[in-house]
């Protein structure tokens, strides 16, 4: 017996129905920039900024209407996504569409991407002023955002791959924007090839899933096996064979490893810093690297089943995420380039997201994408602001920075806010997402990984303190303090006032500002920084679990409910909590459910899971913590009797101040220890600590390992590539030298002998006579045909097509 599935009109709206327009706007704008950009007064940047603003308005409208839709639906009910499909390609029963799949996850990421892209483009107006490929930069940047937006609204895997690959291409173009320097173009190639290595997994995984799921999805839902909706419900339907879904999930996860810079394919991400800073900011906060995490979040049921998430033992995703957190955070300690510190911090934060997803903490992981985008974009743009205005385009913290807090108060303030957010300090946004991940990972029974997460928090606080100290405290060094500083010490005030005016001025005469010594950047740079810092401070309150359920809006809007819904697609079960309970209490279900629970959870000796699975005892505990929302749905653990599931049932850890206080203490310890070390090392140059890595063998070994990035680059470039490429080249060479040359030489000598005989006997006597006769005939014909051999390709082409036309004509005549 199943609760009647009735269609209830969910609220929709124009923006929600037309979310597919969002990627189309920047895509069109890309062509406008390419074709007309150079002729425009602002060299095409106006198209880019305008299109991103347009996309932002549309995304905002869609988000607002989605919230209306969720609020209009009964409590706890599954709010169906707004799906639209047009046929893109069809033949012989295989077809796939193009369209939109808009749900909470989609609108959240759309909003972030459009927002960050807009700010980054505004920032680039100033940062890349006068660049030699200004127009092309904006074209690539716009197409890049279009690719990400397209991937986010994608209705099916093919469309998702399309967006994914557009991003791969644009990241190549943007990282190698200043390709005149060899290092930059090498970094671009490295990024491209490394992510391509992962992309093989994307294609393979999509193919595996399509061929396993197509039959079921076509029969049950009437959609193809590429459809995201189809794949999600198929994964939870009990239809997929264990091998197929496991292989598919692993293949897709390899793609996510490549794109999201997870261990062991993270090596391209720090090198990608070769691109202009706005690109790093966009790439690292909301687009490219989030794509892999988004893929896992999007097809979560597939990974949930395929990787056996919440199955009681560590799975592939959580292990990779955990390793990534720690190794990337450690690498951040030995970097002297400020952007590379941030790059490794991104890798580490992506590790948190992956670990969260792998441990069943779907919502905190998605929320971490959301908050991370703001503070990481702010940090990168801050680093760019420093290099733009103070350190002569250098990113070396030890050589060219230091003491900048006096010169760049706005950059310093926004940097500090974002750093606190990144470290997860209480009222800042990172706390509400990162701490939730750590908390939920522990709650779901992955205790080892909770400790990994806490260790990561400690390391994050420590390396960010180091970077902040080197950049903003102490004495100015190198370019920040260089000869320019002394030169203008007498008229420093004059130039600074001058700049304050310029800040609100047109900036036209502002080209060589780097030569004026350290100063604050113009408003095109500081305004995006301030906006992002505000969000880094405030965005966490969208899902502030500590203050009770009323504050958990993000959860309400974004997390899909694990209700069993009718397979007719749009329909959903009325009544939510109450009715669904009734449904699972009916005879058929209740005979199945308890036995399943008993057999399932007994061998798995993890108490949290056992508690949350056996409904009765767990309920009071859960209800006290997070209201009445928690109820058991069969989705994820069992096959639904009737209808389909769109999302697995996952649980949320009840928030406890004691746990939060513990992680705060760990972060504080990180701050203090790192501050102490920084002062000893850089300020007082304490003999005990300076040069410790050279004196102590174990530390020296660790340092060397980190400086050489665990020798992964050596492994890839010297060992793997060489071991594959060199033997092939060697084998081909020896084949060439020995076999081919031998054959050629042998043939040559034989031919020479034969030719000698032929020459003496046949040629001289028989042929010559004939030749002389033919020769004079050929001479006549040649002089007649010579005009045809004009040497002009076009005329040859005309002859070719003329002959072909005559041939075709003859063929027609003969055949009829």
């Amino acid at each position: 017996m199943f609760a009647e599935a009735t269609e209830v009109a969910l609220k929709s709206g124009w923006f929600l129905e037309h979310a597919w327009v969002i990627p189309v706007i920047p895509a069109l704008s890309f062509f406008l920039i390419i074709f007309f950009g150079k002729r425009m007064p602002k060299k095409g940047s106006e198209f880019g900024v305008a299109s991103m603003l347009g996309a932002l308005v549309f995304a905002g409208g869609a988000a607002y209407q989605w919230i209306q839709r969720v609020n209009g639906a009964p409590e706890g009910a599954f709010v169906s996504p707004v799906v639209k499909t047009w046929t893109w390609w069809q033949n012989s029963g295989i077809s796939f569409g193009i369209g939109q799949h808009v749900d909470g996850l989609t609108v959240a990421i759309l909003l972030v991407v459009a927002f960050i892209s807009t700010l980054v483009q505004i920032y680039s107006l100033e940062y890349l002023r006068g660049d030699r490929r200004y127009t092309h930069f904006f074209a690539s940047l716009t197409l890049f955002s279009a690719g990400m937006l397209n991937m986010v609204v994608a209705e099916n895997m093919i469309q998702l791959i399309l967006g994914w690959e557009i991003m791969g291409l644009c990241s190549f173009l943007l990282i190698g924007h200043w390709w005149e320097e060899g290092a930059n173009s090498r970094a671009a190639l490295k990024a491209f090839f490394t992510t391509r290595t992962g992309d093989i997994g994307l294609l393979t995984g999509t193919a595996i899933l399509f061929f396993s799921a197509n039959e079921w999805t076509t029969k049950t839902l009437g959609v193809s096996g590429f459809s995201i909706r189809g794949l999600s419900s198929w994964a939870l339907s009990g239809d997929p064979g264990h091998a197929a879904i496991t292989m598919g999930a692993i293949a897709l996860f390899i793609a996510a490893i490549g794109k999201s810079g997870q261990f062991p394919l993270h090596t391209w991400l720090p090198d990608a810093m070769a691109g202009p800073t706005p690109v790093s900011s966009l790439l690292h906060s909301s687009t490219m690297v989030v794509a892999g995490v988004f893929l896992v979040a999007r097809l979560y049921p597939v990974f949930f089943k395929g990787m056996d998430i919440l199955g009681g033992s560590a799975n592939f995703i959580v292990v990779i995420g955990g390793i990534t957190i720690v190794i990337a955070a450690l690498l951040a300690f030995v970097q002297t380039d400020i952007k590379k510190v941030l790059a490794y911090s991104t890798v580490s934060q992506l590790g948190y997201m992956m670990m969260g997803l792998g441990a069943g903490a779907w919502l905190p992981a998605v929320f971490h994408i959301f908050t991370h985008a703001f503070f990481k974009a702010c940090l990168f743009l801050g680093a760019g602001s420093i290099s733009h205005s103070s350190s002569h385009h250098s990113f070396e913290m030890k050589k060219d920075m230091g003491g900048l807090r006096k010169f760049m108060p706005i950059t310093f303030g926004t940097w500090i806010i974002s750093t606190l957010a990144l470290c997860g300090v209480f009222p800042f946004s990172g706390f509400f997402s990162k701490d939730e991940i750590i908390d939920n990972v522990g709650h779901n029974g992955y205790n080892v990984f909770m400790i990994v997460g806490l260790a990561g928090a400690f390391l994050t606080a420590a390396y960010m303190t180091r970077a902040t100290y080197l950049t903003f405290f102490g004495q100015p060094r190198g370019a920040s303090a260089g000869e320019h500083h002394e030169e203008e010490s007498h008229n420093a005030h004059a130039t600074h006032d001058d700049h304050a005016d310029h800040g609100h001025d047109t900036h036209d005469a502002h080209d060589d500002h780097a030569s004026h010594g350290p100063h604050e950047s113009g408003w095109l740079i500081t305004v995006p920084l301030i906006i992002l810092a505000t969000l880094a401070l405030g965005s966490g309150f969208l899902n502030a679990a500590p203050f009770g359920e009323k504050w958990e809006n993000f959860k309400k809007w974004v997390e899909p409910s694990a209700e069993v819904v009718s397979p007719t697609g749009i329909a959903y079960v009325v009544g939510g909590v109450g009715e669904a309970r009734v449904a699972s209490d009916t005879p058929t279900d209740s005979t199945v459910a308890p036995t399943e629970v008993a057999t399932d959870s007994e061998p798995v000796a993890i108490e949290d899971r056992a508690v949350s699975d056996s409904e009765g005892e767990a309920m009071p505990l859960m209800a006290a913590a997070s209201g009445e929302m928690e109820h058991e749905s069969p989705c994820g653990t069992e096959t639904p009797e009737q209808g389909v599931c769109m999302a697995p049932q996952i649980h949320h850890a009840p928030f406890k101040w004691s746990k939060a206080a513990m992680s705060m203490l760990i972060v504080l310890a990180g701050f203090l220890l790192s501050l102490f070390m920084c002062i000893q090392l850089y300020e007082k140059k304490n003999k005990k600590f300076v040069g410790l890595t050279e004196r102590n063998k174990a530390l020296g070994f660790g340092y060397k390992l980190l400086v050489n990035k665990y020798y992964l680059d050596v492994l890839y470039e010297k060992i793997i590539v060489r071991s594959i490429a060199h033997p092939i080249a060697g084998a081909v060479y020896s084949f060439n030298q020995k076999v081919l040359d031998g054959v050629v030489n042998g043939t040559g000598t034989t031919a020479k002998r034969i030719a000698g005989w032929v020459y003496r006997n046949i040629d001289q006597r028989v042929v010559d006579g004939a030749v002389n006769g033919t020769g004079s005939a050929a001479h006549g014909a040649g002089s007649a045909l010579r005009p045809v051999q004009s040497g002009k390709v076009n005329q040859y082409g005309a002859l070719l097509f003329g002959a072909a036309a005559i041939g075709a004509l003859v063929l027609v005549i003969v055949n009829t």
């Binding site: 012989s92 010579r786 004009s790 040497g791 390709v793 076009n794 082409g797 005309a798």
Partner: protein
């Protein structure tokens, strides 16, 4: 069926391509015209494949796309070399093949 329209489109594209090959002096434009010809053939293949309801035409078309990409690669490399050696890509100035 819409086969006729596809065939007409293909024929038009083919003619434009042939015109380009014969009349244009710029080597890059000639290459582009060759692409047009190849793609008109692709459209023909797809149109007939659609009419016959088989995948054969699609397979051929995919091969042609791949080969066309390779061909353009070689062609552009030639144009590049030509430009390096002669500072011009005007086909009329090229008559080394004159016999």
């Amino acid at each position: 069926m819409l086969v006729n329209q596809f065939l007409i489109l293909a024929a038009v594209l083919f003619c434009i391509g042939v015109y380009g090959v014969i009349a244009r002096k710029n080597a890059v434009l000639v290459l582009m015209s060759i692409e047009l010809i190849l793609n008109s053939v692709n459209i023909n293949l797809l149109a007939f494949s659609m009419r016959n309801g088989s995948l054969d035409g699609h397979t051929f078309a995919l091969y042609i796309i791949a080969i066309a990409a390779a061909e353009v690669g070689v062609g552009l490399a030639m144009v590049l070399l030509m430009y390096r050696n002669r500072r011009s890509i005007d086909l009329d100035e090229l008559s080394e093949m004159k016999g």
